[in-house]
Symmetry: D2
């Protein structure tokens, strides 16, 4: 794809020592819709600039802070059209605000913000802007997650009764935040992560997956959050029971202290006419049981796999796509919308990348979980 | 084994149309410790007698009701030494009482009784009797469940933090109780099952498995029970959050409306030093993750499998044992105790078959779940 | 089942230190069709008698050798009706012959004999006798193996093209026969096992499974047998390519030196219209792929499971049956035939337990493999 | 990465309707080492040019044929430094020759050539050129394949005894080549594929994987190739037995007519001290059994995963990488070598991407298989 076809992308956060920034960069390249041309890659100006140079960004577009970047890029003739925000949570809102108000599209990591108040402000900011806001709940980009959504939307499971979703990890089984591991440090720090630890970091992914696939709206929840590791400042395990509008129920478990679980996000959905099961670590498979029939193993783009999955697949079934391709699907859908905007066209129908309202929903979920748990585990309404 | 070595066994319930009676009979034969010599196999006298004849029981020991059987067998020179009670739940107590008071050992299906009041009476009755009372929470008989218990007892997982247990089924996804299917009929009938539906039928198995393997004591729970099928009189799905004494937490899910699940009892236990996972449908495997090491797949009697599992295995690893062998292990442990008693010896140490107190614990669990749920899902103490 | 209903069973071999004898005894009890009343359980008379006493056999029916047993039992009013022969291979023929000629039914472990010459004599002996001869190729007793046979017989896979079968183990990866382990000792001894080591011990099971499920007849094979362990006297690994009559082809691998494999018998069969896969270590599942459709996981007695599997199942799907139940199915089919004979009735149709001709086929297979391999791995006809 | 850092890449083949070209392009982008600047993307000039425009290649570098491209690019100041050759097999040699002789690095799809004669010529051409030749046996790029190689190289399995490798597919179960499906058409056409069908297309991958992981050299083989679909001109199923130098043995099965198999490449390797197993469809796992210990599941970059795997991983364990990332690893290793050459430095040590000699080895394997099979399935030496 020629240079003029690619979207000029900037990045905030994601410098040396970061994790998710590198993922965003690969995701942006896979389908060749973006070129990274500017960055404010760290909150430490020197590190920000050095990190940009590492990545081959021109020196004059290697910024020491995001505000400088927003201001200058907005004035450049070929300034960035979109910016990826991949900082710790507490910086999502202040950074996004500056780009949105200058009409620069935002692709932001999850959770939306570190507080419900910020989330609401960000929804407003996005509402006022002509720019797009895309939230990288990347698991929604997996083809077989799309397949689940399509089947449920088509009524293949009948009325949904049960949603069992979980996201256990084990990397915080010990007090890793005391070892200068950067990821552990900020993710267990309320000032940077917000009021939720595990529930905010990965519980939101699980919750988002549940609503994305089923279309259900959560009504109330009852949560029991806990930090099992002595001295940890945020929860490292969350047990949640859920009641959805219309009568479906569910359970959500997220944990960072479950040895043997790496990123074991898994969802099981049961309706009156069938059930499905999907696991992130083996993402090219979707189990489907039509009631009264044998289980079927649908493979990505294989027999039984439908349009939604096919639309976000690149290679034949049996050749696994993974996490990066799922992430790239969010970037590619964002590109389709951005390019339509660039050309003054309507944003195409059927794009499914999460937006600012999904983000608000997630932050409200975290907030309700924390509130419920703090009051001893009482049923609490989701307040959006 | 010569006739004089085998224990003379009677059976209450388990006639034509029954399910679990046949399982008990096979379980009693596998290791050749019992011979079935008497029965009151149905609440309908004619059916009871015909069913006994079917099984080759002598006509004069084919009884029309359990009371007649208890009275006469207690007087016979070679009367039954033990009786298996395999009726619907509400008959466990009245039947067990009659045999216990006559000094006849009781092997009783779960749950212990259909009400907490009965459970407490049965505990007393067992306490007064010189006879043994064994409860067939058969899943505790699986070798790899024993392996889990041994490893946890040895501290291999460190302090236990989390217990995630579930038992989903799908057989009641529709209103099967309206089709004259006998199993569905009584299991959804409060008069015969008690106050718990799914939670009593299989939730108790899951709960028992959690306490058997970990040795934890439940302190409080918060339950959300529901009947998803219109008109069903007892819950067909149960969501429960648990807090154990000492600080461990857990979730329990049991369901009869989850299409694609046959008898998918599964437990995952995580401690500070490792995690284990076991699934009933593939019972010869135990996953073990020592913290910071790769997952290991321990097979029944294979490398890494210990004494407890070895003690209840019959054949080499890679040759699967199943549900019936696990059930037989309960019978065989009961036999060891009964034969010791017959010979005036002390009951051997190390037998792990569940007893009447385990049964009371299970009924108290069901009762607490129902109470919690009826009050909207509030945290409720386990009252024993 | 009353005593008069049970078949009076004797046993040859299977005393202290033996493995398979205990399996036969459990298998005979599971469905309550047999009672063990006599035995010549070892080739050492004192051990034979002591072993019988261990099992509760009456002293006067505890024999020091099988010939004495055959002679006396044949004269007793209530002598054995059937005998289980569970000795090392070389004794199958001499023992079976003595019982067959006295009209006593024989249930014999595999392989049929230790030599092709003996196999042919045994076929003759069985042909002359009015008694039944049943060979315990026990894997054919698994319900989902029957399911495979039924589906193939019904044409659900179309014309069969490929049969990939394997039986790897790891227990002889080192020279276990030097450690006084009895099983290793005789199974690696040509005098007791015959000309085949691994190929005879487990390769025959794999081959039998291939022919049982598909109904195909082997035409020629090309084998490469090898003993990887220094000084081992029989092969511990076998690679075989097969061409069946009608054009199907296949591969067979059996090994005793493949670390990580316990009893990993597995078969995959592909036809023009679909494929199936089955593994002994997870025997309650059968994978079925109708061409162009998603894979289906058929469970024993679950949806999609047919008559043959249902006929040899005892408990609901999701409650695993295992090796012993599969073995018991052979015993129970034998019992149906024996009881019919006892009552002067025709043997019921549809019984599928292997017979003496299946045994000859297996021994001919071993013989052809050894011949092919000895000549450097040339294509060799199966000579029966 | 700035433009001056990226390698200027051309492509031959891979236009509209092609499959593997798109894979190469994504693979080249993932780690940002290449930019595609020129192409001769089809053997039909108009289609070649239109396909290049599709991809955003400048019009003046959109060539109608590869020779024109080779000649002109070699003269341009910023002409391509490397070319990806992704045509049908028969064009690999003529295209590669033209670029090699002009000092342009070649990254070529497998198999090396369509004939052994061409393969030998290509080895010579590569030997004379200062340019690199990289063969995309992409499965060698999977991290856990590297892990297997590292463990075997370190002696963790002891002396290798057995290599069981297979690559079944099902997409040619019917005569797809009659339906104008382009992939089926050329892959079953001897003029474009060469003398091997299935054995050349995927059997070579399996063979390459066996030698890459173990370091073993094949001595002789015995092959039985067959076309099961009527009228097919090349084999669609291959059974091969192998004997390696030093005494190891193996089996290789490749098939395109095995319903239920998509790209089920799988290898199992057993040595005196342990065994490992890997499957392409679940590539982030490696099973390892140290002899006498439980099986371990090593995950990519997880506990137990070593340097080689870590060096070609991008994201944490539990976040699956897939086929495209494995493919990208070959491109990235090629980039490291190319950039070293550009800078006049020595090619770094430890790069493992396959080269022209691996390609010759693969073509010799196909040739030996075809020769063996044509002579009825006789043992045949590998002639290189």
């Amino acid at each position: 794809m020629g240079n003029n076809r690619r979207i000029r992308l900037g990045m905030v956060g994601g410098g040396r020592d970061a994790f998710i920034g590198g993922v965003h960069r690969i995701a942006s390249r896979i389908d060749d819709h973006y070129q990274l041309v500017a960055g404010a890659l760290s909150s430490t100006p020197e590190k920000a600039i050095a990190s940009a140079i590492d990545l081959g960004i021109d020196e004059d577009r290697a910024y020491g802070d995001f505000l400088a970047m927003a201001k200058r890029e907005a004035r450049l003739k070929n300034g960035v059209e979109a910016v990826a925000i991949v900082t710790p949570n507490h910086m999502h809102y202040p950074a996004a605000r500056e780009f949105l108000k200058r009409g620069i599209h935002v692709i932001c990591d999850k959770p939306l913000t570190s507080s419900l108040a910020d989330a609401k402000k960000l929804v407003k900011a996005a509402g006022k802007s002509n720019a797009l806001f895309v939230l990288t709940h990347n698991y929604t980009g997996y083809p077989m997650v799309r397949q689940a959504r399509e089947m449920i939307g088509n009524g293949e499971l009948g009325e949904i009764r049960l949603v069992q979703v979980e996201y256990p990890q084990d990397w915080l089984s010990e007090k890793l935040e005391d070892t200068e591991q950067k990821q552990a440090e900020w993710r267990t720090d309320p000032a940077r992560s917000g009021i939720g630890g595990c529930i905010g970091d990965i519980g939101t992914h699980a919750y988002n997956l549940a609503t994305f696939t089923t279309g259900l709206e959560l009504e109330t929840l009852c949560a029991d959050l806990h930090a099992f590791v002595d001295g940890r400042r945020l929860d490292d395990n969350a047990h949640v029971m859920m009641r959805f509008k219309g009568g479906a129920k569910g359970m959500l478990w997220s944990s960072q202290v479950a040895p043997g679980n790496e990123n074991a996000l898994r969802i099981r959905i049961y309706g009156a006419r069938g059930g499905i099961e999907w696991a992130q670590e083996d993402p090219n498979y979707l189990w489907h049981t039509p009631a009264g029939e044998p289980k079927r193993l649908i493979t990505r783009s294989g027999a039984g796999s439908g349009e939604l999955a096919g639309g976000v697949s690149r290679i034949p079934p049996g050749h696994p796509e993974g996490y990066l391709e799922g992430f790239a699907n969010i970037y590619t859908e964002a590109a389709k919308a951005i390019l339509a905007k660039r050309n003054g066209e309507a944003v195409p129908e059927g794009l499914l990348m999460p937006d600012v309202n999904d983000g608000l929903n997630g932050v409200a979920f975290v907030s309700a979980c924390v509130n419920s748990s703090n009051r001893g585990g009482v049923w609490t309404k989701l307040a959006i």
